[in-house]
Symmetry: C2
Subunit: 480 residues, 2 copies
């Protein structure tokens, strides 16, 4: 494989360059003509389709249905909730003209749809019978990025879903917030094999306009945290300005209680970072566009027919098992080139089959995640394949979990904190709850409170900054 | 049912108002805050999901994969193919600012993605090995509508798919154009129960930038034609300005041959118009969010338990058959109200079950499309239900086909043409092929050439305008 096709740096030496090369060379995405925007190529989009379909199924089971909202939001509407507007205004794209005509009330490209959705909800909801109302929107959000962009991790337009629910009571809404976060965690851990820590954001880091934000955070191999998804309790912060009211059974009007929540294609970025290696992408079987690739090996016309026939047979047997299998029939390429090509693309399982294998009634199985090769009897392929893929999926998660645990440490001393932060990782440190201490850490070290874990067992230690009694032990880390 | 909940005009008396009321009152869509834009409510979006999933399956079988393109296209790129730009420029939305900053090269909101897609394709395609390249994009297109807008039929933003393929030969590309149109016809006729006529557009009516456009046209009950989808042969009209080239087996560089094609949520609009009636929406079973609704009928506490138990049993049996079934448990509403409600929403099949039915071991089956009621033995429901739904689907198509045939007439005389046009319908009239004659008809009557059918058996008659020998017998109609 020529140098410009393969990855030319190692994951350890230049993580950022390694990441970009994997995204581009594995043909997941490419840069669009406008800076900060990307295009998804079929393999990249296919991974998104897998994530989407897994989430969508869970949403529907939860009684959540999908809807569609336009991409354009009038400035007058976007600015109705002041804090929310202040948060999104600096990065909004503005439409000012249609054809030759100037538009009076400027139109923002959806940075998020709370304002638009709730102006509609306010029309649709009349009585308690209309609640709960739970609608999800699969669309894109647009936020002009000023910081350096990175495919999937930070882009000016990104694929995501945003869910917006309305409830009669705060309790019901808060339960929904947690249910959704649980769905997210389940999908990220089971489909993408990435372990996450769930909990609350601090006041400073919460969604602009929310009462509080719950989050799931994962750790990247460079020691930085990646926010993988958030679920917000909005209280009545939006229902009041947007007039989202319902009449209860006694015919009394009440403001409703709301939630909003979302995950984006950033999940794909996290997956690339966590699992990829120096050979390229490594895909968890559950989301890989191709789960098994068959590479036939032959060097003579005579062998060609025999090997191809057998390879076709295996392909058919796997298709019958609903495995996403691909037989690499490209005649003009060597087996060696093909091996590297599919390794670069991260296909979890490769079946190599040559004339000598057929004589011995076996194939060679190469697993991408640990780069191991073993023999497998041909008549066992079909029966064992699902189990092998499940094993790969589990091993990938276990490996990532081990790394997360190794890089998670409890720290009580600020000097030690600063030392450890340089190595990267999740630093659990006691905190008094004061935003001044939180800001001091951020200013001096770049570390933020990523999450206050739900399972936080705060033991009334001393705040790592001010020494006052701690109220929680958040995870601090530098983040993306 | 109170007057403002049901439809207050008849389909015959005020077709336009009837249509709008059905869309809004059946809760498929609602007007967004910006004029010309709509929001899809869950029932409306669910129909789009059914169409999407049926099409997506067929696309994937054809080797077409999905991708993602950003919504913003720089003006410099959009204007590279001159005719194309001239066609879309007047209705483009322009982004001029991000946050406080003015953007140098204005960004258009995607009116269609040929220009953006092909600037990417040009980077991705190097050799014949990379072809054919077939990518589809599920997204929205934005075109500022100056004419009066109508939900689903004409909006400034609409959900659609746009497919873009690249081939080594013109022949292969032209075959693809037809394959896609065949897929479209299949889905529209089989899922939406709307008969269509396929063929070519005239030069005047083709897509700006195409060599030629194939189309499928359907007839609405008001006698106007609705274009349901188009598939374009682009030749090398885009590959040249966008440099979409490949090296062939002899290492010679060639410009590629291209196609593009799309259908939008307009299909939903057509479906509403064709099948709806004075009671509201009528949905074909294949795309209905709910296929069977069960309405339990009881007036005493004692009956309530008995009826609800049996209704639950039936619901379970239908769920086991993978039927989309809903049991209407709303206690506070009368059965009569519920009947009207589900009729308004167009649910194809209603099962009514009361204490007397249970005694006789039967239910009442009400079919929405013909408003007929029959008895069905309870123990037969589960076995017969799929067949009944198929029968409904077929009868809806047959009925629409009959109307299309009745309203399709062959005309050789221009005076007769103008008379018949007032009644509405598909007018087959001989045409010499001259654009002047086509324009004269358009100017004088408002009728356009909707399609020159593939099965056109032109018998060398006289052009209805100039009297010269005809080259084809197109379908003329007024259109949406």
């Amino acid at each position: 494989m020529s140098k410009d096709i393969g990855i030319t740096v190692t994951k350890n030496d230049d993580f950022s360059e390694w990441y970009t090369q994997v995204v581009l060379k594995a043909e997941l995405a490419d840069y669009a003509p406008v800076k900060g925007f990307i295009v998804l190529r079929p393999d990249g989009y296919s991974i998104w389709e897998s994530i989407k379909s897994a989430l969508d199924e869970k949403f529907k089971k939860e009684g959540i249905r999908n809807g569609f909202l336009p991409v354009l939001i009038p400035e007058s509407l976007l600015s109705k909730e002041k804090k929310h507007f202040a948060g999104f205004n600096p990065e909004a794209f503005w439409v000012t003209h249609s054809g030759e005509n100037e538009i009076g009330d400027r139109l923002a490209l959806r940075p998020t749809s709370e304002t638009l959705a709730y102006s509609m909800y306010s029309k649709w909801i009349k009585s308690w019978r209309d609640l709960p109302l739970k609608i999800n929107f699969w669309n894109t959000a647009l936020r002009a990025e000023i910081k350096a962009t990175k495919p999937f991790i930070r882009n000016s337009e990104f694929l995501w879903q945003e869910g917006h629910t309305v409830h009669t009571t705060a309790e019901e809404a808060e339960k929904e917030v947690l249910k959704i976060l649980e769905i997210y965690k389940n999908i990220v851990e089971n489909e993408l094999a990435i372990p996450v820590i769930t909990g609350r954001k601090s006041e400073k880091e919460k969604f602009v306009g929310a009462v509080y934000t719950t989050t799931m955070e994962s750790l990247m191999p460079d020691g930085k945290a990646l926010q993988m998804g958030t679920s917000h309790f909005l209280g009545q912060n939006f229902s009041k300005p947007f007039d989202v009211k319902y009449s209860d059974k006694d015919n009394v009007e009440n403001y409703a209680w709301q939630t909003s929540w979302g995950v984006s294609w950033r999940l794909i970025g996290g997956m690339i970072m966590v699992h990829g290696d120096n050979k390229g992408l490594v895909l968890p079987p559950k989301v890989s566009p191709i789960q098994v690739v068959i590479v036939p090996i032959y060097y003579s016309e005579n062998d060609s027919k025999k090997v191809t026939d057998k390879a076709n047979e295996i392909e058919k047997a796997l298709l019958d098992k609903k495995i996403r299998v691909h037989l690499d029939k490209r005649n003009e390429l060597t087996p060696g080139f093909k091996f590297h090509d599919w390794e670069l693309k991260g296909i979890p399982l490769r079946i190599e089959i040559g004339p000598k294998d057929i004589e011995k009634n076996k194939v060679v199985i190469a697993t991408r995640h640990n780069r191991e090769k073993t023999d497998l009897a041909i008549d066992k392929i079909s029966d064992n394949i699902i189990e092998i893929l499940q094993k790969i999926q589990k091993e990938m998660f276990d490996e990532a979990k081990k790394i997360l645990q190794d890089k998670s440490i409890r720290i009580e001393d600020y000097t030690k904190f600063k030392e450890e932060l340089e190595k990267g990782g999740f630093l659990y440190a006691p905190w008094c709850g004061d935003e001044n201490c939180e800001e001091k850490i951020k200013d001096e070290t770049g570390a933020e409170i990523r999450v206050i874990p739900f399972d936080d067992k705060n033991e009334k230690q001393k705040c790592i900054i001010c020494g006052n009694e701690s109220t929680s032990t958040p995870i601090f880390a530098r983040g993306y």
